[in-house]
Point group: C2
Chain length 235, copies 2
């Protein structure tokens, strides 16, 4: 049975990495103490080793041990045999590019579909959608495709940001950008605010974290859904 | 002699489209009343016709007439014979995709190099750099390449935004993103604040508009340059 936590962000304002999710992660990774970490998104361009160390520190609090996928000679086999997977945030273009380059995208999808518990934050959540077209990241590298895992039948916009009142900046709001996406694409988009996550358990798809989310559907006005909403209607 | 205005934005806060630039544009397009408009970036997904109409309205104030490139049977020939070119803002991915699809990128470069006065705003400025890797836009379509005109020997980040004080949002600042770009790429980046433009006249390259700009170079700390700075050092 598929089991995923697809979180908007790794860190909420004022917290330490993953802190707000730790209780949830204890349950999510209940069956294993060993989690395979995919550091490919390299936030701020840090190395795979440094990124893995920082994640190790966060997971130590709930007595889980972390190994980076880059430490293994045969990453595809390692993925298949893992008991829990975490794909961290950073830059979605860098992450997707590396997943294609290392041919990890399809094996990752198969691992998730086989029931290995998955945690994604930010870029690691974005790739659970149909495509990465609704990332907020800067396109600092050119990946071979924008197609991603398609674990959920819609696109994800992590770190969803409401318009800033009285802003004098003329750049587009997040809502404008996602509406623009829907003039070229038809799949729905969920704007996940920081602190929210999508929980996938088999065929159940739920919004969690205590916040509303914003839904964008082709030909409709964007609207809010409540915390704990069932997301199965979205396809 | 090359002649370009590469502007951060079409509109500054509280102004109407191009208003802050009109006096400058009178001089820039002094030799012609006919400007060819490239509406491919389609801000908010509006049609080429609607976009062209709105630009027509702005240019009417300085008695210039506007035709959209999409109105012509032979756009490449039209480009070559134009007396002035404006590429407007919107989504850079959409713009670059369309420039590749219509095979307009190379002819546009040749037209600019032949001395036809060019105005770019936002996405239309971004494409004057080496690549579009430092756009702020959402990747709502997948262009065949991120390579752009390379009229200037660096990359441009239009709508450059300083970090918002006391923000509780955990998404990256613009500075973080551009620094991240420089972990994968070596060309310099200029962060152009709204209200600034780069003026190109032959081999002269100058910052104008009354504001400082922020420069990002590989292996250096980002730093500010003054209004009217010569940009020829940047390569």
């Amino acid at each position: 049975m598929k089991s995923l936590i697809i979180a908007s962000t790794s860190t909420v304002h004022g917290g330490t990495p993953l802190e707000y999710l730790l209780e949830e992660l204890k349950i999510h990774f209940n069956d294993t103490n060993d989690i395979l970490f995919v550091p490919y998104a390299r936030p701020g361009g840090i190395s795979h080793d440094d990124y893995t160390s920082s994640v190790e520190k966060a997971f130590r609090q709930i007595h889980k041990s972390i190994k980076g996928i880059h430490e293994f000679k045969n990453p595809l086999e390692t993925l298949k045999q893992s008991k829990g997977i975490f794909v961290g945030g950073g830059n979605t273009f860098v992450l997707v590019n590396q997943l294609y380059k290392t041919k990890t995208l399809q094996p990752l999808k198969e691992a998730i579909n086989s029931g290995i518990p998955y945690l994604g934050t930010s870029a690691g959540s974005n790739i659970c959608g149909l495509t990465m077209n609704t990332t907020n990241d800067m396109p600092i590298v050119y990946p071979p495709s924008f197609k991603t895992l398609g674990i959920v039948p819609f696109n994800i916009n992590p770190h969803y940001l409401d318009p800033i009142p009285n802003s004098k900046h003329m750049g587009e709001t997040r809502e404008t950008r996602i509406n623009e996406f829907l003039t070229y694409n038809t799949q729905p988009v969920i704007g996940l605010r920081e602190g929210s996550w999508i929980k996938v358990k088999g065929n159940s798809l739920k919004l969690e974290g205590g916040l509303k989310a914003r839904i964008f559907e082709y030909g409709k006005k964007p609207y809010e859904i409540e915390d704990n909403a069932d997301l199965n209607f979205l396809k």
